[in-house]
């Protein structure tokens, strides 16, 4: 499964190249979100008022999206299982399910964004600023930057899954199913942190 061109060098730690690279990439991504979440937490502790702002987020859609992402993570695990058995048709079917989950997540998110924007909670929330609630408007800046960056990762993960789905059509690069799966789990994991921080903690 692993394509190591350097047949003469014997790796001492036997982790396939792609998997190791993906682990390093995931570590790098996690520090980006870690830094963002730390900044958010510091402000959250400073401003108890943010609880009232978080009450305006839609917990139902947030919870639904959590379930959707968890299910899509399950389907990508099944895709990996099928890929290991070299069952191309099944692997592609399960990947398709994950893609559907990603689409559903983004649709939910758009409905949610549309609702919040119509209530005047935007990146800069001019309505809150006009009412003198500067601290509240900062909550929404954080809300949009955190969910927006996560949404961009969802989109990136879906693109990667789509590309790999095309690649494995003729049985090439089957090991990449696992790699995009790892990335998708990371996207899922980050959401598990964002959901309580932005929706539940009121």
């Amino acid at each position: 499964m692993e394509t190591n061109q350097n047949h003469l060098a014997i790796p001492i730690i036997k982790i396939p190249q792609g998997r190791l690279g993906m682990w390093v990439l995931i570590a790098g991504e996690l520090v980006i979100f870690g830094g963002l979440i730390c900044c958010y937490l510091l402000f959250r502790i400073r401003y108890p008022h943010w609880g009232a702002m978080a009450a305006n987020t839609n917990t139902f859609i947030g919870a639904l999206n959590t379930v959707v992402l968890l299910l899509s993570s399950y389907t990508i695990v099944r895709a990996h299982g099928a890929a290991v058995k070299l069952d191309i048709a099944k692997a592609r079917l399960w990947m398709m399910c994950t893609l559907l989950g990603g689409v559903m997540f983004l649709v939910d998110k758009s409905i949610e964004y549309a609702h919040e924007i119509s209530e005047g909670f935007t990146f800069t929330s001019p309505k809150l600023v006009a009412a003198g609630d500067h601290v509240g408007s900062l909550f929404w800046s954080f809300y949009y930057i955190m969910t927006g960056l996560h949404g961009a990762h969802v989109l990136a993960g879906m693109t990667a899954i789509f590309i790999v789905m095309m690649q494995i059509r003729k049985g090439n690069n089957m090991h990449r199913v696992e790699l995009v799966g790892m990335y998708w789990h990371m996207v899922d994991l980050i959401w598990i942190f964002l959901f309580p921080l932005l929706y539940i903690a009121k």
């Binding site: 190591n4 061109q5 350097n6 003469l8 060098a9 014997i10 790796p11 001492i12 730690i13 982790i15 190249q17 190791l20 690279g21 390093v24 990439l25 570590a27 790098g28 991504e29 996690l30 520090v31 980006i32 979100f33 870690g34 830094g35 963002l36 730390c38 900044c39 510091l42 402000f43 401003y47 990146f123 800069t124 600023v129 500067h134 601290v135 408007s137 900062l138 800046s141 954080f142 930057i145 960056l149």
Partner: protein, 567 residues
């Protein structure tokens, strides 16, 4: 295998190549070009400092705003577009595969993408000089409120704000980080997975260890700054208030995010150069490296400490004095591992058969100059002294005494040492010595007197001292002039190097295969190394520093010579 490749065009061979050696050379050439840009900026604002109000040859009059922009971009270029590509990317790409005995990086395509993104970032940086309003001039640390347009402007014009010097600088830095992250992934995976047979962790040359430790520190400190850069960009183009205290934000947040990355970054730059010393000093002393394992452990310790010291850049920013004490102690502690590493190099020199060839001159010059930079760093690490010296020329002299030897002496040591490897030609050693001595003398002329300017209280962010009669008193203005004349001399002496470089490339002074009689794997391959590097691939039996072994006729034993004692 080499013969099966058909002749490649210039573009696919030199521009869009995925070969690690070509990519290393691309990074090096781009870094050298950017060093020229940064040096030119330094020349312009140094001239303005020494002779305020005079027209500057090859530039013209320099206004106060342009002065600020030039100083800012000089700092940015020298750290992110010279130090990073030359020390981390050029050394890493060129040396890692060939010193661990393999054919290429783990992900060659990713590697090529990284160099292209780096090129794009350099273009955006230089373009920022030519947008309306000019390049960003708020200092290379980009502190808000200078860098956050939204601070003053709650409803910025999106496109106008996006194409301002500030936003372009943030974008360029972000792209540069992406390029370096891709490189870092490659370094780690290559070193873990692709070593030659027998190359166990304790047989890896120190420079490979250090490049990887540097890549790890970079990856784990840059993340929060990437997030912070997004926030800064949104403050600029959308008018959010992440760093605006009036709107609940906090400008101190940026300082913490910046220095949480910015201080480890110093060690990201320092470790590759220290690795170069570890390769050069034993070769020219004909002795094994002293305390190889201890050096690695000390570097790991310094990597750990490096993320605990960042707030020593913020002693005057109004942080809690109790916190300042913590960071003072951390800062003074981190000098211990580095002192240990330098002492190991000096112990390697002790009793060795030292030959002062050109790479060795640069290495010894590095050790001597860095000592001054390191010792003044101890003063500044103590918050009581730092509050007095902060933002004076003392700090300027201190960090140039650390970063200049680190970036340029480290680079030149490596360049003179590995030039025969990547070109197969031999540089003119006489010109090399001229280059070294002139650089060494002019560098000291440039920065040593500035320590006294700083102690006399001269502030470092003033473009024209003639308006401040209290601090423009003699002899400090004369010191500024000596510094500027030395700076011009320093820049001119680099032309000796350029001449040597280009004339050697055009000549046919062939180098022998292993000119310095070194033990490491890269000298087993042809010079310049072919695509694929080795045929057959080497097998490693011993550590990287087996010089002057007893009972061996030659005074060096390459890593691929079987070791009867320990197989």
């Amino acid at each position: 295998m080499e013969n099966l490749h058909h002749k490649k065009s210039f573009w696919s061979k030199y521009i869009f190549s995925t070969d690690h050696k070509t990519i290393g050379i691309q990074y090096m050439v781009m870094g050298m070009f950017m060093a020229g840009v940064g040096g030119y900026l330094a020349y312009v604002f140094r001239y303005n400092l020494a002779f305020p109000g005079k027209s500057i040859p090859f530039y013209g009059m320099l206004g106060a705003e342009q002065y600020n922009a030039f100083v800012t971009i000089h700092g940015m270029i020298m750290v992110f577009w010279v130090g990073m590509p030359v020390l981390l990317s050029a050394f890493g790409n060129f040396l890692i595969p060939i010193m661990i005995g393999t054919d290429d990086m783990a992900f060659p395509t990713l590697n090529a993408l990284s160099v292209q993104i780096f090129f794009l970032s350099a273009v955006i940086l230089i373009a920022s000089f030519f947008v309306p309003g000019g390049a960003f001039g708020g200092g290379w640390t980009m502190y808000p409120p200078f860098s956050a347009g939204g601070y003053l402007n709650h409803n910025p014009d999106f496109f106008k704000a996006l194409f301002s010097g500030t936003s372009l600088l943030i974008l360029a830095v972000a792209l540069e980080f992406v390029a370096m992250l891709m490189g870092g992934i490659n370094f780690l995976v290559t070193t873990v997975n692709k070593r030659a047979k027998g190359m166990t962790p304790w047989k890896i040359p120190v420079i490979i260890w250090f490049l990887n430790i540097g890549a790890v520190i970079f990856m784990f400190s840059v993340g929060p700054l990437v997030a912070g850069a997004f926030m800064l960009l949104f403050d600029n183009v959308l008018g959010t208030g992440f760093y605006d205290p009036h709107r609940g934000g906090d400008p101190m947040l940026w300082e913490h995010l910046f220095w949480f990355f910015g201080h480890p970054e110093v060690y990201v730059l320092l470790l590759p150069s220290l690795g170069v010393l570890a390769e050069i000093v034993p070769v020219f002393s004909r002795k094994p490296l002293f305390a190889y394992k201890t050096i690695i452990y000390l570097a790991l310790l310094s990597a750990f400490l490096s993320v605990l010291v960042w707030a020593h850049h913020q002693f005057v920013a109004g942080i809690d004095p109790r916190m300042a004490t913590f960071f003072s102690i951390g800062t003074i502690l981190i000098s211990i591992p580095f002192a240990g590493i330098f002492l190991s190099y000096m112990a390697t020199l002790w009793g060795g058969k030292i030959t002062m060839k050109v790479p060795m001159l640069w290495a010894i010059g590095f050790i001597g100059l860095f000592l001054i930079g390191g010792l003044t760093g101890l003063f500044l690490g103590s918050n009581t002294f730092d509050i007095y010296a902060h933002d004076t020329y003392f700090v300027v002299a201190h960090f140039h005494y650390t970063l200049f030897p680190d970036i340029f002496f480290g680079f030149f040591a490596a360049f003179y040492f590995w030039f025969p490897k990547f070109s197969g030609k031999e540089l003119n050693p006489k010109l090399g010595k001229w280059h070294f001595w002139l650089t060494f003398i002019f560098f000291n002329g440039l920065f040593f007197l500035l320590f006294f300017n700083g102690l006399a209280g001269q502030h470092r962010r003033i473009n024209d001292y003639s308006s401040f009669s209290l601090i423009s008193r003699e002899p400090y203005q004369t010191f500024e002039q000596i510094a500027t004349i030395s700076a011009i001399g320093l820049i001119l002496s680099q032309f000796i190097f350029l001449y040597n470089f280009i004339s050697t490339l055009r000549s046919n002074r062939k180098s022998v295969k292993n000119p310095w009689e070194s033990t490491t794997l890269e000298w087993l391959s042809d010079s310049p190394p072919p695509h694929g590097n080795f045929n057959p691939y080497p097998v490693v039996y011993r550590g990287a520093y087996d010089y002057s072994l007893p009972d061996v006729p030659e005074d060096f034993t390459p890593q691929n010579v079987p070791n009867p004692n320990n197989n």
